[in-house]
Symmetry: none
Subunit: 226 residues, 4 copies
């Protein structure tokens, strides 16, 4: 086994290098997306930051959208373990949900760009290719995240910490999307404040929203067991 592999090693090294380049490109793109959003990210700038030629980008990604899909994929890929850990930290259903929502919030605080990007990328009529490989992986990740939520919900509804009359799937979608809206506002920050003619404490809004979300789903035995 040891000596048989050498012949394929050159190829494997090639492949490894190729992966490394891909990573480098995505990392560079991510940084831009972080700082300026989807539309300000230019392939030129990404290439320069990745220390590659513009043309080389197209050897690794079919086009700008494919590169962006990859960014989304990566953000998801890294997020799932954190979310799973959060759920695993607790045993009571609603507590699992609480942990997960807080993890969202923390993740958001640490990777605001990802949400910024997620939103700017989701909003307009992007012409994603739903048949691409990246998109498939992205969808798979979303599936896993959803599944984590569904599991926690089921547990909660069984242990009485979550109202049994709520459709688990709908509940999860609502928790996720409403939190995204609040994030968006938080993220908007200055821009948002410019639009609203009141002094707003945007930092308080996320915890407030989570508290309210939990309050709305709390089942009969939520307090006693938590």
């Amino acid at each position: 086994m040891s000596s048989t592999t050498p012949p394929c090693k050159p190829l494997s090294r090639r492949e490894r290098e190729r992966q490394a380049r891909r990573e480098a490109i995505v990392a560079a793109a991510e940084e831009f997306v972080v700082e300026t959003g989807y539309w300000e990210m230019s392939m030129d700038a990404v290439a320069r930051r990745a220390e590659l030629s513009k043309g080389a980008l197209y050897l690794y990604f079919q086009n700008k959208d494919a590169l962006c899909a990859e960014i989304a994929v990566r953000s998801m890929r890294d997020f799932i373990p954190a979310l799973r850990a959060a759920s695993d930290r607790e045993t009571v259903g609603i507590a699992k949900i609480a942990q997960m929502l807080n993890t969202y919030a923390e993740w958001f605080d640490q990777h605001p760009h990802m949400f910024r990007f997620a939103i700017s990328w989701n909003v307009p009529g992007q012409n994603l290719d739903p048949n691409s490989e990246s998109f498939d992986e992205y969808r798979k990740s979303v599936g896993e995240i959803t599944k984590l939520g569904l599991d926690a919900t089921r547990i909660g509804q069984e242990d009485g910490s979550i109202r049994a009359d709520l459709d688990p799937f709908l509940l999860n979608m609502q928790l996720w999307t409403s939190l995204l809206g609040v994030f968006m506002a938080h993220l908007g920050g200055d821009d948002f404040r410019k639009r609203v003619p009141f002094p707003i404490d945007m930092d308080a809004i996320v915890p407030f929203h989570i508290q309210q979300s939990l309050r709305a789903i709390a089942g009969p035995r939520a307090e006693s067991i938590a």
Copy 2:
């Protein structure tokens, strides 16, 4: 000639035509913004759709941002009366809030583009001139909307239909922004479904969210009086 106004009619007609053109331009721009978002809307395309020359657009709007501001202003301007009527239909605080949230939802169903636009426009990176006239009107509208919410909240906290321990301002921001997130998902529609590997009934999510939002703010006397 004596008391009849005919002499001033020619002037008025000019003005009316001018207004009509303005409307036509905004309508055309709106359609684009609806379909593709802020950044995809090109002045060229708007001009073509409004059956005007590119240059003519600039007779009515100083620049692209001013046109966009106008779109936002309009959506707000028409929305406020509806929201006020909704609030006035009820006397109990939480019922007022419920009516307002439902009005949001209905408005959203009828003018989905407005929310799509609001979101794409709120996404950072826009360099709006916060000193422009349109922007001022927009901000004023946001202020009025907020005020309607605050009034209802105060009434609710006084009549016991809304929990008294919630900060009214924070609450209103949270209700608004979280609903926006849910709308966004609903609006995403196909795009969203593409991303989530489950069959989703997106139409149910908005009422579900409203129900949960109300549940979270319900005060001790919410049920008895409502």
Copy 3:
């Protein structure tokens, strides 16, 4: 004669009004040309300043160039009497020339825009219509100015204050054009200083140039009679 003119008075009043409008337009255009130069002068802005519609401009002037020609014409028209007075103040030839050069300089100090315009207008390949009425008048003015110079030169060469070996015509052209170059530099002011990496006293350059110009043409009896 007195009573016969009434019938044509309405027409004459019309004509006078028409002339007044023309004056107003040229005056407005002049102001712009003063402040910003030929290229920054927009017909729109001129119309607004003249309190007329853009279209009306074209009732008085065939196009932008025709309007500019008129500006040049006016500047000349007003300049000629001043120049003639300058010449008449002296009797000795070289003194006449000196007076005229100084008048140029004063005129330039008081109407820098005219020279600024003259230069910006003369430099590029303007497509003037050399057959237009304005242009004819302009040419006529230039002719008169030239004639004033030639007369003074002739007198100077006869009274010995100006070297007799100089071609009068060439001399006049040289005096005029070289002064224009010096004016241009003076006028450039800040822009010029930016280009030259030395501290320059631009105000002294015009009198210095005149002094040198006179020195170069002084004839044998220049000192004794002046």
Copy 4:
């Protein structure tokens, strides 16, 4: 392969090609500037003449101003050695100045566009970036030219061929700018003739001006040593 440089040739060829393209662009731009002046030169037209796409221009020059700065820089760069050689051909101060003025004239005959451009570019209203690299080089060139003139003047004032009572710096500025004005007229050629209602021998004006300029600065010993 060992000591021969071929391996580095490909790189060098790239660089050479790049330089060649730059030259081609500047040449194309120059032609336009010659014919029509700064403002009429459009990037579009330059691109077409250089047989490149409009976008390609921006690979070589940051913007229109940078391209124009380059034109100015080039004209200066090539001019300085010629001017220095002219000065070095003589030892007596005024003779140096004479040589330099004649060199100006020759240079002008051979590169009339350069002066046309210099003038149109010097005319106010340009928003050049005085901090750009090109501009710096341009300014440096102007500095060198000025220095050549100052040196010659100093020598002339020491050897008595140039009047000692003239401020060297002022003198140089005046010589330069007045010559520019005369050039301008010469350059105007047809346009100028159109304006002046006399037959003019414009070709004679430049030597005439130089003769007069020298006459005006001649010191007590100018004739005896020259």
